[in-house]
Amino acid sequence: MRNVILDCDPGHDDAISIIIAASDVSDLKILGITTVAGNVEVEKNTVNALKISELLDLDVPVVQGARRPLVKKSEIAPEIHGETGMDGPVLKDPEISALDGHAVDFIIDQVMQSDEAVTLVPTGPLTNIAMALIKEPRIIENIDEIVLMGGGTFGNWTPAAEFNIFVDAEAAKVVYESGVPVTMFGLDVTHQVIATQDIIQRVGNIDNKIAEFVKELLIFFGETYKNHFGFNGGPIHDACTTMYLLKPELFKTEYLNVTIETKGEYSYGMTVVDTLSVTGREPNTNVALGVDQEAFWSLFEEILKSYSGGSDNE
């Protein structure tokens, strides 16, 4: 059993990541869900996290985090995720509410108090994680790995930068330079897990309310990805992190040096991956570059099917 904190900005693919982590197939112990400004404003991300928790009957704390990046001004992506940040499926307003306090303090407290090492799983901008590392550097000793979605050797928000890193490159720099082992799921790998019509149909064939919810997420996400990026479906970027924690052998990774660009004229927010090892800089990141797509989607189906068990199946 691995202790995880899911730091996210749900977000269609964040929602799917949570669903994977919370399933019966998963052996992850979710210590909490923390939210951060990213896909949309943090307040909306928090509401979405609460809605997902309620849908899953997931009894873990939800704590709101940073409203804006460390240095630059906010940047959101409603054109991808809709006005609510999770457009598509309609869920009722949550009855549960977020814990008082700030995500940064929650992360620090959980890590410091845990008897076993904690894995941080950020799937949004890295603002909360950077702030926690700065506020209480001793947490480093009890974090075994940061498994994040972000970056890549090419970009989507700009030609060179992926959205999460672009939103808060300074925070990313803090995280990558922290010395904590980082496993990175960037666009190189996440663009290999696209929920095409075929995948959506496979999800649609599963008869439970969670699979139905995921199907609606994928339909909306696929539309915006088609319109905005010319894709034939939505890549479920963030889900790679929790799929990796469930089954690391799905992915092909290489241990490489990654440096964050915070100054480049055209490349602010780029994760500079030293693929050919030309810099002489020590490797610091486990970079995911490939995935066994067939095995990935089979496990994904199995996870969604696991929600069919039990008497509360609708």
Binding site: T153, F154, G155, N156, P159, A160, H228, F229, G230, F231, N257, T259, E261, K263, G264, E265, Y266, S267, M270, V272, V273, D274, T275, L276, V278, T279
Partner: protein, 311 residues
């Protein structure tokens, strides 16, 4: 069919040498108007001497002009470790009495372009840092309308000098920016395609064991590459600059996409990066660059070997 007018700008350099050899062997298709040199792989003296020696050795009877001795703004850095101290590995070519043209280099290149028959244009083939080309475009802007395209070796979506910058572009990013921002049609033979091209060990061995003096000389140069640490575990030796020349003679064996390219000139980790906008929904405007990203390797090898064996 009329020949393609070309001007070659280079910094020989082993792969430049092969590029010149391929060009010399293609004179049925190419009208080579001249060769200019630029500091890059080695100092301007060395690369100019090498260009002169190569043109004599290849019986390539065209003017050689000596160009910029260093980048526009940054300090020089050569690649002696890659190309050996002479710039041609350990190969020593016969001495030549040939001299570089006297006179203003850029005026000479300009005149070669402007003196073409009115209905013809020049293809520029720069395979070193883009210093000379940038200066030419700035000093004599009238050449713009007389340039068909610039087929250059440089850049790509990843680097070899740094993680993101290829050596030629890294050598003079400001010059590259001038060239890429010129709106001229540019064909970028960058690392995406040059890393998919080259000759294998058997092909190189056949060259350096050849009785033919020309074959042996170029075979020795390529063996120098193969014996270097970068290629010790590789089955294929890349001959970056030759790819640009083969593109000019045989574009049909290549694949590419139209993209816009920005050159990072900041003094930071991505200096010299050719930032290619690969996003499908990127704006159509500004896509003046053909990013070559694939090649028929067997066809490339056959064409190159056939050209070299004709010398």
């Amino acid at each position: 069919m009329s020949k393609i007018n070309v001007w070659i700008d280079c910094d020989p350099g082993i792969d430049d040498a092969i590029a010149l050899a391929a060009a010399a062997a293609s004179q049925d298709a190419l009208h080579i108007h001249g060769i200019s040199t630029v500091a890059g792989n080695q100092t301007i003296e060395r690369v100019t001497n090498n260009a002169l020696a190569l043109s004599s050795f290849l019986k390539l009877d065209v003017p050689v002009v000596r160009g910029a001795e260093g980048p526009l703004t940054r300090a020089k850095e050569d690649a002696g470790h890659v190309h050996g101290e002479t710039g041609l590995g350990n190969t020593v070519l016969p001495k030549t009495g040939k001299q570089a043209e006297k006179g203003n280099t850029f005026q000479l290149i300009r005149d070669a372009i402007m003196n073409l028959p009115e209905d013809e244009k020049m293809t520029l083939v720069p395979v070193g840092p883009l210093t000379n080309i940038a200066l030419l475009l700035k000093v004599y802007p009238e050449v713009n309308t007389r340039i068909k395209e610039i087929v250059l070796m440089g850049g790509g979506t990843f680097g070899n000098r740094t993680p993101t910058a290829e050596f030629n572009i890294w050598g003079d990013p400001e010059a590259a920016k001038i060239v890429f921002d010129s709106d001229l049609p540019i064909v970028m033979c960058g690392l995406d395609v040059t890393h998919k091209s080259g000759l294998d060990r058997n092909q190189v061995e056949a060259m350096f064991t050849s009785q033919n003096e020309v074959q042996k000389a170029f075979g020795d140069m390529l063996k120098f590459y193969f014996d270097s640490p970068a290629y010790i575990n590789s089955d294929l030796v890349h001959i970056h600059d030759a790819v640009a020349v083969i593109y000019v003679t045989n574009p049909e064996i290549f694949k590419g996409i139209q993209v816009s390219v920005d050159v990072d000139c900041t003094d930071d980790i991505n200096r010299g990066m050719t930032v290619c906008d690969l996003r499908k929904t990127a704006p159509e405007a500004g896509r003046n660059v053909t990013l070559l990203n694939d090649i028929d390797l067997t066809a490339f090898q056959n064409i190159l070997l056939e050209k070299l064996s004709s010398l």
